[in-house]
Structure formats: structure tokens, C-alpha cells
């Protein structure tokens, strides 16, 4: 009994230690908050400046001192949207991104499922090769690809461009969906088989609904990759330019305020999409937001 009380007293922290402990905790907390604030500012400040500049008149953008409050002058935006070719390029970007999304989900999902569920010969090699496709920089690939596309008649088509973009997005699609499917217990599928499903039915009745959030996230990811891609788009399309290619080529000589307007249009869909699927991206990366 005596021993017990002794032990207890020893393991009880003295007030001094407690104070020390809480103060180190405070320091860590403060460090955490300030680094988070710094990171947020790092990301948000340029976006903020972009928004301010895009929504201000030319005089303000080019004048000095800079204003940090947007005027909500839509003149520049209107000018930009009416600029010849912008709308067509916007549409092209959307179409190419949609194609890319469809191709990479359509091919990536079965590939991811195979990686997750089957043992097949060369599985590890397959995994490596998928990643290797990202080892070659686009500038290196773009010219030979352009030559091949001209030979097979895919040059200057959105479909051809989507193929290239899909090759950029596919590795992610495959690996993301593979880990998604790995996270769904095989027993759920087996239970469905025993209860009367064939493989396909079990997939779309049980696996699909469970994987849908993640599949959506990886689709959006593919969309954003295509939407943001410049190099291949600039080299492979001439008349059917996407917005990025258009901006790079047509706006290099434009005034600053128009560039800002273009930049805003470019990042908007990506931001919007990421916002919509943020929950799934977090869960995909193992961060819970609840």
C-alpha cells in the first residue's frame, strides 16, 4: 500500500513541470499557427493580387501606388472576353479537359482495379512503367509527338491533344484508383458474388458507390491537369488552340491588365473544381476534415 502511494506521487508531475509543459505546448501552437498563416498567405496573396488586377481598370493596374482593393471595374474583363479567339479557346480547353477526364478515368479505373485485385505476371514492372511515363519532360516529347500526329492526321485536333494530356493524367488516375480499390475490402465484393452478382454487377453495385468520391476526385484531377497544360497544347494545336496555348501566344504582347484577366480566367475553374472535391482529395491523402 505504502509503495503504491509513493509511486503515485512520483508519477504526478510537479506544478513546475506542468507550467513548463504548457508553455512549450504554447510555443508549438504558436509556431504551428504562424507557419500555417505563412503558407496560406504564400498561396493566397498572388491569387488575391491577380483578382484585384483583373477587376481593376487599366489605369489602376499600370499606375502607382498599387491598390489592394478591387474597383470591380469590369471593363478589362469584358474587353478580354470579347477579345477575338478567347471564347473559342475557352471552349476548346473545356472540351480537351473533358476528353482527358473521360480517357483517364475510362482507362485508369480498370487498370487501377487490376492493380488492386489481381496478381498478374509483370505487375511490379507495370507499376514502374506507369510512373516512367512521367519521367520524360513534355518539351522532349512534344516535337516527336507533333510529327507523329501529323503523320496519322491527329495534328491540331482536340482529341489528339486529349490523348497527350491523358498520358499525363493517367499515371495519377491509375495509382489513385488502385489505392482506392485497395481500401475497399475484398469481402464486400465476395459477399456480393455469393449473393448473386457477377463480377461486373458486384463492381457497379458495391465497389463503384464506395469508390465514387475518390473516382470523382481523380477525374477532377485529370481535368485540371489538362486545363493547366501549356506546352503540348501550344505545340500540337494551331487553329484549335486551348486557352493556355492561346494566352501564351496571343497575349505575350498584350497590356498587363489583359494578362491578369486571362490569368484569372485560367485559374478559376481549377480553383472551383478543387474546392468542390476538396473533401475527397483530403480523404485521398489520408487527411480527415471532420
Amino acid at each position: 500500500m505504502k509503495m503504491d502511494t509513493n509511486n503515485q506521487r512520483e508519477s504526478e508531475p510537479t506544478p513546475d513541470v506542468v507550467a513548463n509543459y504548457t508553455s512549450t505546448k504554447k510555443v508549438w501552437r504558436w509556431l504551428f499557427i504562424s507557419s500555417a498563416a505563412f503558407l496560406i498567405a504564400w498561396v493566397l496573396f498572388p491569387i488575391y493580387l491577380l483578382v484585384v488586377s483583373a477587376l481593376s481598370s487599366a489605369d489602376v493596374v499600370n499606375g502607382w501606388p498599387k491598390s489592394f482593393i478591387p474597383e470591380f471595374d469590369l471593363e478589362t474583363m469584358t474587353f478580354f472576353m470579347n477579345y477575338y479567339g478567347v471564347l473559342a479557346a475557352l471552349k476548346n480547353s473545356l472540351v480537351a479537359a473533358a476528353f482527358t477526364m473521360i480517357i483517364s478515368i475510362g482507362l485508369g479505373t480498370p487498370a487501377g482495379y487490376a492493380l488492386a485485385r489481381f496478381d498478374f505476371w509483370g505487375k511490379e514492372a507495370f507499376r514502374m512503367i506507369i510512373l516512367l511515363t512521367r519521367a520524360f519532360p513534355m518539351p522532349l516529347l512534344a516535337l516527336p509527338l507533333a510529327v507523329i500526329f501529323i503523320q496519322v492526321g491527329l495534328d491540331d485536333t482536340l482529341f489528339g491533344l486529349s490523348l497527350v494530356h491523358a498520358s499525363l493524367a493517367l499515371p495519377f488516375a491509375v495509382l489513385i484508383t488502385a489505392s482506392l480499390f485497395l481500401g475497399i475490402p475484398v469481402e464486400l465484393e465476395e459477399a456480393a458474388w455469393v449473393l448473386g452478382c457477377n463480377r461486373w454487377q458486384a463492381f457497379y453495385k458495391v465497389v463503384m458507390p464506395l469508390a465514387l468520391p475518390g473516382l470523382t476526385a481523380s477525374a477532377v484531377f485529370a481535368f485540371v491537369i489538362s486545363w493547366n497544360e501549356v506546352f503540348a497544347a501550344a505545340v500540337l494545336t494551331i487553329n484549335n488552340q486551348t486557352l493556355t496555348a492561346f494566352l501564351v501566344q496571343s497575349l505575350s504582347a498584350s497590356p498587363a491588365e489583359v494578362k491578369f484577366a486571362g490569368g484569372l480566367i485560367l485559374i478559376l475553374p481549377a480553383l472551383l473544381f478543387l474546392y468542390v472535391v476538396r473533401k475527397y482529395l483530403f480523404s485521398m491523402w489520408g487527411i480527415s476534415n471532420r
Binding site: P185, E187, L188, E190, A191, A192, W193, V194, L195, G196, C197, N198, Q201, V206, P209, L210
Partner: protein, 336 residues
């Protein structure tokens, strides 16, 4: 409601022969338990019956139907998994209805079947919940209800109670027994828990390294273990096996070992004719009886004796096996 015939089933994974020619005849409405240590191939055999795994050779018949090459969905079996495998995106109602919907049963019949099985498993108040809102025990009930709702020919269960706490396990055990008796479904149940096996089974198939050593009712398995392995696996403490003991005069030809259960000794505090002295090493008082670890001619011996006998650690006890309880085993460890 049918028989299951398992003939010469063999299965290996790579170099490892997991099932070495398993043969079992399971009767209509019988509750068969596959019992064996971890890794002996119980789940593999069950999954072969379900069609989730393909045998290398051999035949599986359900009733008169050869299902050896059929996919799971065409076998009319139902399975309860160790981790329940309740679909998380469906309500309890839809989980139980899943198999019926696949069979394109009418909505009225589905509603009727779901409610009946839910009632049977006492989960009728949970029908609109999702599996995330259920406890482990409730999930287990949903899994069983889902299996019973399709009115399968054969019900397969792989350690369905092993994830429950001890108390709940006891409760579910007796409940399962009643429910299955009522449903009259031929059942194959996998466990490595011998108490569970003894209390549930009509017949137990004791598996040992990919073979079935004995397939019989629990009493017979306990009283007449077909092999040394079965005797050593079943019973707590297990059967004693003694090499060439003094009591060999009654041994049949070829007998190598005497198998005798701890409770099957005549015990005396004094020397008597036909009794041998053993030295008591440890005494465990268990209330209803005392469990002794002792030594006889250099061989360990476990004995259960009445709790009132005044034994002492290090003391001497005289004993003789009850003649009608002695079992003899040959060189290969098989009963003679």
C-alpha cells in the same frame, strides 16, 4: 436444405499443399463445424464450397448438383464472413434485401422476407440504419440475416463470432444455434474454438494440415479421438498420451501409445493392486475439480480429480486408468 458432397478436394497455393484430398459427406440440415488450428485450410475449404476459390481437383456437389465449376452466384449458397462484410453504402434493409433483389424477387416478397429474417435476428428496429451506425454484434446479426434472407441451400460461416467480445459471443452462439435449427439450413461453420465447435455442431470435422482426421458427433470426437492429433487438440487439458505404460497388458497388437483423458483415472491415496504412483508437480484448484500436473515414469501426465481429495504439491498419488476409457494408438497415431 440439401446435402453437400465433397470428394477428394485438393488445393495448393504455389508449392504449399493446403488441402490434401478432403472428403466429407454432409447430411441434409446438418450443422457441420470445421475445426482446426490456424492455417490448416478451413477457410480455404469453405471458400471452395462457396466457389470463391477454385479447387485443383475434386468434386463439390450440393444435393445432386455438381457445382464444382459453377461461379458462386449459381450455387445457391450464402456466406457469413469473419468481418461481416455488411455493405456500408446500403441500409440494413437493403443489405438484407440485396440477394433477393439480385434474384428479381417481387417487392412484396422482399419486404416479407427481410422483415421475417430481421425479426429472427432481433434487428427489426435497425432496418433504416447504415452499417456505420451499428455495433459489432448488430453488424454480425445483419450479416446472418442477409445470408438467411435468400433461403439458401447451404449456409457457410467463417469464424462469424470471432470478432465479438466473450459475453456477446456466448449469447450469439446459443441464438445462432436456435435460429439455424429453426431454418433447417444445412450449415458449414468454421472455427478454431473447440468449445464453440462442441456446443454448436451436429458433427465436427477436425482438420489437421489439410486433411480431415475425424468427422463425427462431438461426443464421439471427445470419447474416441480417431487420431492422436484429435485427442491432443480437443479437450482442455487435452488427452494424455503415454508410451509403453505399465498398463500395456491389455493393449492390442501394434499399440504404440495409450490415450487417456485427464478425468478418466481411478485415484487412490494409498497403494493398491494395479495402481501406479505418480509424483504431483502442480495443483490447480478449479472449484469443481482439481487439475494436477504430474509425472509418471518420466512422462508428463495431466489428471483431473475431485476437489476434496487432500493432495499436496510434491506428494504421491496412486492411479489406474478406467479400463473402458483407455484408447490405443498405433505408430501412425491412428486409433486401434
Amino acid at each position: 436444405m440439401t446435402t453437400i458432397t465433397i470428394e477428394n478436394i485438393k488445393k495448393s497455393f504455389g508449392d504449399a499443399d493446403i488441402l490434401k484430398s478432403v472428403t466429407l459427406d454432409i447430411k441434409d440440415q446438418e450443422f457441420t463445424v470445421l475445426l482446426g488450428p490456424s492455417g490448416c485450410g478451413k477457410s480455404t475449404l469453405l471458400r471452395i464450397i462457396a466457389g470463391l476459390e477454385t479447387q485443383d481437383s475434386g468434386v463439390i456437389k450440393i444435393g445432386e448438383r455438381d457445382v464444382s465449376a459453377l461461379p458462386p452466384r449459381d450455387r445457391n449458397v450464402a456466406m457469413v464472413f469473419q468481418n461481416y462484410a455488411v455493405f456500408p453504402h446500403l441500409t440494413v434493409f437493403e443489405n438484407i434485401a440485396f440477394g433477393l433483389r439480385m434474384k428479381k424477387v417481387s417487392d412484396d416478397k422482399i419486404k416479407h422476407n427481410v422483415e421475417r429474417t430481421a425479426e429472427l435476428m432481433h434487428i427489426e428496429h435497425l432496418l433504416s440504419r447504415y452499417s456505420g451506425q451499428l455495433s459489432g454484434g448488430q453488424r454480425q446479426r445483419v450479416a446472418v440475416a442477409r445470408a438467411l434472407a435468400v433461403e439458401p441451400d447451404v449456409l457457410l460461416m467463417d469464424e462469424p463470432l470471432s470478432n465479438l467480445d466473450a459475453l456477446l459471443r456466448l449469447q450469439m452462439r446459443s441464438e445462432l444455434k436456435n435460429v439455424l435449427e429453426e431454418s433447417k439450413t444445412t450449415t458449414v461453420y468454421v472455427t478454431h474454438d473447440q468449445v464453440e465447435a462442441m456446443s454448436l455442431a451436429d458433427r465436427i470435422a477436425v482438420m489437421n494440415e489439410g486433411r480431415i482426421d475425424q468427422y463425427d458427433n462431438p461426443d464421439e470426437i471427445y470419447r474416441n479421438p480417431a487420431t492422436e492429433y484429435v485427442g491432443g487438440f480437443i479437450g482442455n487439458p487435452p488427452m494424455n498420451f503415454l508410451t509403453s505404460p505399465h498398463w500395456s497388458n491389455s493393449a492390442p497388437d501394434g499399440a504404440q501409445k495409450l490415450g487417456i483423458r485427464p478425468e478418466d483415472f481411478l485415484v487412490s491415496m494409498e497403494d493398491q493392486v494395479g495402481y501406479l504412483p505418480v509424483q504431483i508437480q502442480t495443483i490447480e484448484k478449479l472449484g469443481s475439480h482439481q487439475q494436477l500436473t504430474s509425472e509418471l515414469e518420466g512422462q508428463g501426465l495431466r489428471i483431473n480429480i475431485a476437489s476434496e481429495l487432500p493432495v499436496q504439491q510434491g506428494g504421491i498419488l496412486f492411479l489406474q486408468p478406467k479400463p473402458e476409457k483407455m484408447r490405443w494408438y498405433d505408430v501412425r497415431g491412428e486409433i486401434i
